[in-house]
């Protein structure tokens, strides 16, 4: 009974965080909205950092419905991409350092996206998590939920379908 000695924790963390940061920070619109991703193992939580520019109704005030839609869509796309890339990053088929240098894999493309607005978005940070319901060779279906103060009280949810990028060809080694 022999098994490979586990990698040091810092090596694992650095590789995963470098890959995730490259994926997220490579998209100007994600930076514009102020969305960041919190990672625990392979699980992601998207964080929408509140700013006044996100307001849609200044009288209430409430977060713009379009911001909510965009936040959910970004969460769905990044989570879907991450779910597919994670095993390749771990196996070394995708080099996290090359990703950090700008060699980014193609992201899934939205086919359709349906948002349910359950309650108004308050002027403060919001969080979202996506669940990949099905991920096939060409199409994927993703469900995503967003909340603010109470995780059980979602203020919006969405379901979307996505066209997957062509598979990354392994270089055979």
């Amino acid at each position: 009974m022999t098994r490979k000695r586990p990698e040091p924790m810092q090596v694992v963390k650095q590789r995963r965080d470098a890959a995730l940061n490259a994926l997220v920070h490579g998209v100007p619109y994600i930076r514009f909205l102020g969305i960041e991703f919190d990672r625990r193992g392979d699980e992601l939580t998207a964080v929408l950092n509140y700013s006044e520019d996100l307001i849609g109704n200044p009288f209430l005030p409430a977060i713009h419905g379009g911001v909510t839609a965009a936040f959910l869509e970004v969460t769905a796309i990044i989570t879907l991409a991450w779910t597919n890339l994670f095993p390749l990053i771990e196996s070394g088929e995708i080099d996290a350092e090359e990703m950090a240098e700008g060699k980014l894999p193609r992201l899934p493309r939205t086919i359709d996206f349906t948002v349910d607005y359950l309650r108004s978005g308050l002027p403060r940070d919001a969080y979202a998590r996506a669940r990949v319901s099905r991920s096939g060779r060409r199409y994927a279906s993703v469900h995503v939920e967003a909340w603010q103060d109470h995780h059980a009280k979602h203020f919006a949810q969405a379901t979307g379908h996505f066209l997957m990028p062509p598979p990354i060809v392994s270089n055979g080694d």
Partner: protein
């Protein structure tokens, strides 16, 4: 009616996020609204091609649908989105503005139904379409 249009216009132009995205209200009235969003590098969703993010199109669709509702003769005040479905037909051409036309085609005391189409310079081929249901509020 002219007063209602003016009110809806003022409301749309006061939205901080609409300003942040550079939206310009070009037409409004009788349950129909047209809003233009100029191309901007901060809206890019695919750095390789420069194509803007679907989320920015969603924000534009949502704003325009809300404007169409507020400009309807039977709408007493503001509105909020109940649900919005967007179909993405193709990527918007980088460098070109996206223009959304929204029509509130039916309204009841409580719910307004809206359809919208987004195009770039090639107006014959939509970039995206949307259908949504919106609340009908008494005030703003």
């Amino acid at each position: 009616m002219a007063n209602k249009t003016k009110l809806a216009r003022q409301f749309i132009e006061a939205i901080p996020h609409a300003r942040a995205l550079g939206m310009e209200l070009t037409e409004i009235g009788e349950g129909r609204a047209v809003i233009r969003m100029p191309y901007d590098e901060k809206l890019i969703g695919d750095p390789d091609t420069g194509v803007i993010h679907g989320g920015a199109v969603s924000a534009l669709m949502d704003t325009c649908c809300g404007a169409a509702v507020m400009s309807h003769r039977s709408a007493p005040g503001g509105t909020a989105t109940i649900d919005l479905r967007i179909d993405y037909m193709r990527a918007a051409t980088p460098g070109q503005a996206v223009v959304v036309t929204a029509v509130c085609h039916h309204i009841t005391r409580n719910v307004a139904f809206v359809r919208a189409t987004a195009t770039d310079d090639d107006t014959d081929r939509p970039v995206a379409t949307a259908t949504g249901a919106f609340t009908v509020e008494k005030g703003f």
